[in-house]
């Protein structure tokens, strides 16, 4: 640990990030940037391997040789692969994602609105799923080995392996078509209106994703709460006559929250993949559905941009989760030298 400067030795010394922690955070970020660089090469090489000529694909078979040559020159298609890679990467870093091969617009405009829609979807999925999952975990831990705990853990176990599209289709059957019809079965958002005025369309995909992420969070919360509830400080609090509700929420949970937090972060990263399938099930116009249509249309620039975007978010969330967990866990924080 770093010595606190003498000047700040007042009753409340200013909080400083200790040097080892800072080093750890920087290492994670640098490693993340390196990994992202490797991924950009992978994505570029992979999509370069695609058979077919991008110029012909975009301009059509009837294009004149002059037009094709101009197109290739404009997109650096006849340069060596390494130069192409660096000019592509340079454009990418400036936010120029190129032009969609299947739509007459730039990839940036194509996916701009989609990103907003996906963010709203993930936000709702988290707002619905995470609090319920944490509550279930806490109650299961409290009533460990009781009927509620066994029922929950059995249900969770069943849900844990279910593919998202099975959850989505089952919810459609239950809530949107055959059993009761209270929600729309597809989520075709009207792009002219704000998404906030069409929230009913977001609910079903959000429920689906919430159910998909809940099992892992419930399990982690339950396990860490059980550990916390067996501790001496909880026994002490109970002996002092602290109310059980307060023991659970004020004593045990804050100490059990690091693994739960980790589980939440991993689930958020996981949602990026789950969203691809769920958005397709409900035809929800987000990043995932855009990726599926881009692949169907073999639209290279869009595929590249979307895959990089998804991995970037995934990586950022994982790194943020690692760093925050380390900060939140005194044992990990103080071990650092």
């Amino acid at each position: 640990m770093v010595e606190q400067p003498l000047v700040s030795r007042s009753s409340t010394p200013p909080r400083r990030i200790p040097a080892p922690l800072l080093k750890f955070v920087l290492r994670r970020i640098v490693l993340g940037v390196v990994i992202m660089f490797v991924i950009s090469i992978l994505v570029f090489v992979a999509t370069q391997a695609l058979p077919g000529d991008a110029a012909v694909a975009k301009l059509g078979r009837a294009a004149t040789p002059v037009a094709l040559a101009a197109f290739r020159a404009h997109y650096h298609l006849s340069e060596p692969a390494i130069e192409q890679y660096f000019s592509w990467l340079g454009d990418l870093l400036q936010g120029k994602l190129g032009y969609s091969l299947s739509a007459p617009e730039s990839v940036t405009t194509l996916i701009g609105q989609r990103i907003g829609n996906s963010v709203v979807l993930l936000l709702f999925a988290s707002l619905i799923g995470i609090p319920i999952a944490i509550a279930l975990g806490i109650v299961s831990a409290k009533r460990r080995d009781g009927v509620f705990d066994h029922a929950t853990s059995f249900a969770i176990l069943g849900l844990a392996g279910l593919p998202e599209f099975v959850i989505g289709i089952s919810l459609t059957l239950l809530l949107a078509t055959n059993v009761v019809h209270i929600l729309p079965a597809t989520s075709l958002l009207n792009p002219q209106q704000s998404i906030w005025s069409q929230l009913k369309l977001v609910l079903l995909p959000a429920f689906t994703l919430a159910i998909a992420i809940a099992p892992y969070i419930v399990r982690m919360t339950r396990a860490s709460m059980i550990e916390a509830l067996e501790s001496d400080y909880v026994a002490m609090a109970r002996l002092k006559g602290v109310r059980e509700r307060r023991v659970l929420l004020r004593y045990a949970f804050p100490n059990a929250s690091a693994p739960t937090f980790q589980a939440i972060a991993l689930s958020l990263a996981y949602l990026m993949g789950g969203a691809v399938v769920v958005e397709t099930v409900f035809q929800y116009p987000g990043v995932g559905l855009a990726l599926v249509s881009a692949i169907q249309n073999r639209d290279l620039p869009t595929i590249q941009a979307l895959v990089l975007l998804i991995t970037l978010v995934y990586l950022t969330v994982s790194i943020a989760a690692d760093v925050l967990t380390t900060i939140m866990t005194p044992r990990l924080r103080t071990q650092m030298k």
Binding site: G161, L162, E164, F165, S318, D322
Partner: protein
């Protein structure tokens, strides 16, 4: 990386990064001497595991025996599109007027084969690289594990879709893609289990004899990590089924007119309100299959953890 940093990451990465989530079972130690046989047998003590096994056996039987008992060919037109269930078509007709029951009975075995191959290949790659990394340590360890870290940054479905977008949807590619999404996490688990072994005397002995790496890996270390290996197989099988079925559903797996559970769900969705069986039957089958596999994987994990605990306590003075 500092030890503390590594410990933090280990701690931070306790869970499966890409998966829905059955929490990763505790890595059973070396001492799970009984290996996979013992793990399998002790897992059957749990009622849930037996239930899972029964469910999986039933679905596998439906998928394997189904094609032989199907009343019609899966491609034969037997009624009007979305014709309701009647005496000669028990589950009604699909969007083109083919028999839903016959297509259902034909539609499972390919998913099972692909998922099994992907699981075996993925767990195999992960195990070999994980154990080799643990045994050799040093630069090779770093190279293997850091390369897998890169793969871990792709969500499973996105990685599979990227490969498919490049090479087209081919069945072998689906197996390889799904296997590659499993390998990094498996390698991490198996490396963790094998690292505990590498300091032991019998490994040092093989080194003194100058035995080659691959013989130590396969002959000495592998037989001692079969307990975590069994657990990984159970867990990965659940996710393989999920990803393979999802790719079929998205239209990047088997192509029409193939009879396939994932594809059937996609094809018959438009008629959900008129004739739900084309969707309901395959949804139930895939759901039961993954639930059964999860139950088995959970039992295996508990059994492996329990075996370790028993051995541990027996060692105490």
């Amino acid at each position: 990386m500092t030890d503390a940093g590594a410990a933090a990451i280990e701690q931070a990465e306790l869970g499966p990064v890409g998966g829905t989530a059955a929490a990763t079972p505790p890595i059973p130690g070396v001492a799970a001497g009984g290996g996979w046989g013992l793990v399998l047998r002790s897992s059957l003590r749990f009622g849930r595991t037996r239930l899972g096994l029964v469910i999986v056996v039933v679905i596998v039987l439906v998928a394997v025996v189904g094609p032989f008992v199907a009343p019609y060919s899966p491609y034969q037109f037997v009624a009007a599109p979305y014709a309701p269930a009647s005496s000669h078509i028990v589950l009604g007709a699909d969007e083109l007027g083919r028999d839903v029951l016959s297509r259902f009975l034909h539609g499972g075995y390919v998913i099972l084969i692909l998922a099994t191959l992907a699981t075996v290949l993925g767990v195999g790659i992960g195990t070999i690289f994980g154990i080799t990394a643990a045994y050799r340590r040093g630069a090779l360890d770093e190279l293997i594990m850091r390369s897998f870290d890169v793969l871990l940054c792709f969500p499973a479905v996105v990685f599979a879709l990227l490969l498919i977008s490049v090479l087209g949807s081919k069945l072998w590619l689906i197996v390889v893609a799904v296997a590659l999404t499993h390998a990094p996490q498996v390698a991490r688990t198996m490396r963790g289990a094998a690292v505990q072994l590498t300091g032991r005397e019998f490994i040092g002995y093989t080194e003194a004899l100058g035995i080659r790496t691959w013989r130590v890996v396969f002959g000495e270390i592998l037989p001692n990590v079969t307990a975590p290996l069994t657990v990984e197989l159970g867990l990965r099988m659940t996710w393989s089924i999920g990803i393979v079925a999802s790719l079929d559903f998205l239209g990047f797996g088997r192509q029409p007119p193939a009879a396939d559970w994932g594809l059937m769900i996609n094809e018959n969705r438009a008629g959900l309100t008129i004739q739900p069986w084309g969707v309901v039957a395959p949804v139930i089958a895939i759901a039961l299959l993954t639930i059964g596999c999860s139950l088995i994987a959970d039992g295996l994990g508990r059994a492996a953890a329990g075996i370790e605990r028993e051995v541990d306590t027996s060692r105490e003075p």
